[in-house]
């Protein structure tokens, strides 16, 4: 009987030693390569007739938490047409990664929507995906009378581009998931 009892004790000790060999300190976690994050949106508006470009910019360098984002609105001239170019950046990476390329490569799965609160501002798409539907990376923005208000820019992933009004820029029936939703102050002088 003692013999068997010893066996139990010995097997217990073996397993204890297995446990004792477990790690005492956690290895350093590997910091993931956050290549998917979008930290920055720039909407560059260049007057078609020439002049200084205006950049509307949203920048949140540390992602969702931490410090608050920096939002820069802009002052536009009235009765002017601008060419607009959107740029998305991941500035956590160094050098910054241009996410716009990912969006344009998957153009059929993405669409930007522009919602000005100032009714006197109109925005039209000037690009299209493989199916002939708009993406919104390039656009034209036209101002009329002087006005102040906001411009909301939304990027939807996998929207229903064929739904009513979506290809002309109406977000109502678009669905999909919001990847970006930022609002800028606009001052049309």
């Amino acid at each position: 009987m003692m013999k068997k009892f010893n066996k139990i004790v010995i097997s217990g000790l073996v397993i204890l030693s297995v446990l004792a060999s477990c790690k005492k300190e956690k290895d350093d976690p590997i910091i993931p390569n956050e290549e998917e994050v979008i930290t920055t949106l720039n909407y560059t508006l260049t007057p078609t007739g020439g002049g200084t470009a205006i950049v509307l910019s949203f920048q949140d360098l540390d992602g969702d938490g931490g410090s608050a984002p920096t939002i820069t609105g802009g002052a536009l001239d009235s009765n002017t047409t601008y060419t607009g170019v959107l740029e998305l950046l991941n500035e956590i990476e160094s050098p910054a990664e241009d996410i716009t390329l990912e969006v344009s490569a998957e153009g059929d799965e993405h669409q930007f929507f522009f919602e000005p609160s100032a009714t006197d501002v109109t925005i039209a798409y000037t690009d299209m995906d493989a199916n002939g539907d708009p993406i919104g990376i390039t656009s034209t923005l036209t101002t009329n009378s002087t006005n102040t208000g906001t411009l909301k820019i939304t990027l939807r992933h996998e929207p229903a581009k064929s739904a009513t009004g979506v290809s002309s820029g109406d977000i109502t029936n678009a669905g999909g998931e919001t990847d970006i939703e930022v609002t800028f102050n606009l001052d049309v002088q």
């Binding site: 217990g12 300190e25 949140d60 996998e158 930022v182």
Partner: protein, 770 residues
């Protein structure tokens, strides 16, 4: 060896009536009795497999077979509500058998287990037996337990389900898989336990005040998933199960084989399940399919009379689809989803395919146990268990990254346990033991996303002692436990540039319980229990920081959180009036100090994806009060009515607010009509049931994005029958769920923000025992 089945156990009294063996002139006779009342059970089916002869017990519970030959004999005994059981012996002389069936057990979900290992406890528990498990083989563990009063289920769709007992879930209850605390990512509300319920012969919910003999963070209740010991039976036996369900076109097969071989006893159980998109009354729930492949191997060896060992290995592997339309980007999307009748991305056609978002879960358990019986009164038990848990969650992502998990966690745990039991004189029963557990939790860096919870090492050690004193009518139980936990965390900063920081926490916890049961008036038992327990803050509560996409909120942990401490009282009464009306009631009150919860903040945080509400893990003092009542009225031998009512109210006492995410109150009623014999079928059962779930009114509008769903009721039907086909015993069943195809949403189903719950479902299945 003793047959230790649930609903049933037997004594073989090999009475030497005639000691000289005579060819084919032997008699096998016996009586079938009710375990709890000792009364005869009439119309139990007794079947001899070798001679393919069957009889029913008479009004005295008596049966008899004459002109039997010498040789091996397999006897099947079956009765409504009990699983088919088999006795094996070699017939050499006239034999008389007394068989005990626990017929009352199935009336109150209470199955007695007789045997040396069962510790007397004063805590109330309810179980489902292997017959119930077999007839619900299409369901997940949590959904199977839903029938037990006091148990509800948190779901994320239908495939991802988590049990809730008396309002607590996740790391506040402990789930034991074959005696080992399940070690995985139980902190996640949408993480279901990684256990195949079909490996179990019995699943028990201890609706208790503490689980001192187990390691884990239970604040009261415990769920035990237990395979039986392998029957002492030299022939190969097993059971094959197949089920099909119309909602989701789900198919499941399960095969169990076992043999008590000369060298060792073995059992192997394998399960394959596949189902596709579920359907509400009006539309498909696109991407809600799931698939599972599980296997379990059990080996037992009795070295000698005193020493036995068991090896157990189980592997659970599942892909669980998540409703495509529930994957949203920000609060605007969530609000839009509430407005929609049909979720985004709903396809018109059924599909088995599982795309992002989905979860891929693997869990493997290896357990070695050895037991040494010192003498009749004392034994020692030693267990080692290793668990490997892998969880990958896939989201819809840009540029082909949907193939890369957005969350990828690996957990390895090693556990050892030693237990000692001693039956002391004068009915004192002493149980002591210790446990050591080491957990290594790692985020796999493949995700390209900052992890939700940090990497950590946990080292837990604890010891306990329990003393039970049994007197004629009264039983006392006292227990205490001490736990030490050390947790070393290595986390990545949320600031950029990212850096690694380390923290370490030590926790010392004491738990205690006291319980008393008293029997009175022959048929009645009253039990009172009080327990003190604590739970250390989980890593997600301490360190999570970031967007929780499924609920569109930013969740912030708090590294300074304290442990929760709980005092729970339960008072239960059960008994019967003239063995006609069976009553069971349990009242409970639980006060938890420093209860950790997600508190919505006034802050709305602006991110590039829009504005999000901020939730912080905070602590408050709460009180959970409720009762579960179950009654069964046996109107006649054939007709039974069951009614259950569950009530629970959870309050945040510090802030005088209702507690969110508490189960709704519910009433359940069932009518059973049972026929011992119908044509060539036996044990034919016909059941109609109704479940009424109240609206969760104990909640303020400001506490959730949308108001809790309205009350609903569902009607179900069930038909089951058994048939003996030579040596095969067939159990056929047909189950209809949501018979009226009612459109409803359930408060505890997180998918309710986006879609309706399941519509009509018909499940057909066959279990073949051989």
């Amino acid at each position: 060896m003793f047959n230790k089945n649930l609903c049933f156990y037997f004594f073989l009294l090999l009475l030497p009536v005639v000691s000289i063996s005579q060819d084919c002139k032997l008699t096998v006779s016996g009586v079938v009795k009710d375990l709890s009342t000792d009364k005869p059970i009439i119309f139990a089916n007794v079947y001899l497999k070798e001679s393919q002869k069957g009889v029913y017990t008479d009004s005295l519970g008596f049966f008899k077979f004459e002109s039997m030959c010498e040789g091996d004999l397999h006897v099947n005994i079956s009765h409504i509500g009990c699983e088919v059981q088999e006795i094996f012996f070699s017939l050499t002389k006239d034999t008389n058998v007394i068989v005990f069936l626990d017929h009352n057990g199935h009336l109150l979900n209470e199955f007695k287990v007789e045997g040396e290992e069962d510790k007397a406890t004063t805590q109330e528990s309810q179980s489902i037996n292997s017959k119930t498990i077999g007839e619900n083989s299409d369901k997940s563990l949590a959904n199977m337990l839903e029938g037990i009063s006091g148990v509800s289920v948190i779901k994320n769709g239908s495939g991802i389900a988590k049990p809730v007992v008396h309002g607590l879930y996740g790391t506040r209850i402990t789930i034991l898989n074959n005696g080992v605390a399940q070690s995985g990512q139980q902190w996640g509300v949408d993480h279901s336990p990684e256990i195949d319920p079909l490996v179990a012969n019995k699943i028990t919910v201890v609706k208790g005040v503490g689980a001192l003999e187990y390691q884990g963070s239970s604040l009261g209740s415990v769920i035990l998933v237990e395979p039986n010991k392998i029957d002492n039976e030299p022939h190969l036996h097993g059971e094959a199960r197949y089920s099909f369900e119309t909602n989701g076109l789900g198919n499941g097969i399960n095969l169990e084989l076992q043999q008590y071989g000369k060298l060792f006893a073995w059992r192997v159980v394998g399960t394959l399940k596949k189902s596709g998109d579920n359907h509400t009354p009006d539309y498909y729930l696109t991407n809600t399919g799931n698939q599972e492949a599980n296997i379990a191997l059990q080996l037992e060896k009795k070295w000698n009379k005193k020493w036995s060992s068991a090896l157990y290995f189980s592997s659970f592997n599942a892909d669980l689809g998540v409703l495509r339309g529930s994957h949203i980007g920000n609060l605007t999307d969530l609000e839009e989803a509430f407005e929609r009748k049909v979720p985004f991305y709903t396809e018109d056609n059924f599909s088995y395919s599982i795309n992002s978002p989905y979860q891929k879960v693997n869990h493997h358990l290896l357990k070695f146990q050895t037991k040494y019986i010192i003498n009749e009164k004392q034994w020692l038990d030693f267990t080692y268990a290793g668990q490997y848990n892998l969880r990958k969650e896939f989201d819809v992502r840009r540029s082909g990254r949907s193939e890369i998990p957005a969350l990828s966690l690996k957990q390895i745990s090693n556990f050892i346990e030693g237990k000692y039991r001693n039956y002391l004189p004068k009915n004192w029963d002493l149980n002591i033991g210790f446990q050591i557990n080491h957990v290594d939790n790692t985020n796999l860096p493949e995700t390209g996303i900052l992890p939700l919870i940090p990497d950590y090492l946990g080292f837990e050690t604890g010891f306990y002692g329990l003393i039970t004193k049994k007197m004629e009518k009264t039983t006392f139980e006292f227990g205490g436990r001490y736990d030490f936990e050390n947790r070393k965390v290595a986390a990545i900063s949320t600031e950029v540039p990212r850096y690694i920081y380390r923290t370490e926490n030590d926790y010392h916890n004491l738990s205690a319980l006291f319980g008393v049961t008293h029997e009175f008036q022959k048929n009645w038992k009253v039990a009172y229990n009080i327990g003190y327990a604590s739970r250390n803050p989980e890593v997600n509560e301490l360190y999570s920081n970031g967007l929780h996409q499924g609920v569109s909120g930013i969740e912030e942990g708090d590294p300074t959180l304290n442990k929760e401490t709980s005092i729970k009282n339960t008072l239960s009464i059960k008994g019967n009036i003239k063995e006609k009306l069976f009553v069971e009631g349990m009242f409970y009150n639980q006060n938890i100090k420093d209860y950790i919860y997600l508190n919505p903040q006034d802050e709305i945080r602006l991110t590039i994806r829009g504005a999000f509400p901020v939730f912080k893990y905070q602590q408050t003092n709460v009180r959970l009060t409720g009762f579960d009542i179950a009654t069964t009225y046996q109107a006649s031998q054939r007709f039974t009515i069951t009614a259950k009512y569950c009530y629970l109210k959870g309050m945040d006492q510090t802030n005088d607010l209702p507690l969110i995410f508490m189960p709704s109150n519910a009433i359940f009623a069932e009518f059973d009509y049972e026929l011992p014999k119908l044509g060539t079928f036996q044990n034919v059962g016909f059941t109609v049931n109704g479940n009424y779930v109240f609206e969760q009114k104990n909640l303020f509008a400001s506490q959730d994005f949308v108001a809790p769903p309205e009350a609903y009721y569902l009607i179900g039907l069930k038909l089951s029958a058994e048939k003996q086909l030579k040596k095969l015993k067939l159990n056929l069943y047909l189950r209809a769920e949501n018979l009226l195809n009612t459109t409803y949403r359930d408060y505890l189903n997180r998918q309710r923000y986006f879609a309706d719950d399941l519509g009509f479902n018909l499940v057909a299945g066959v279990n073949i025992k051989f």
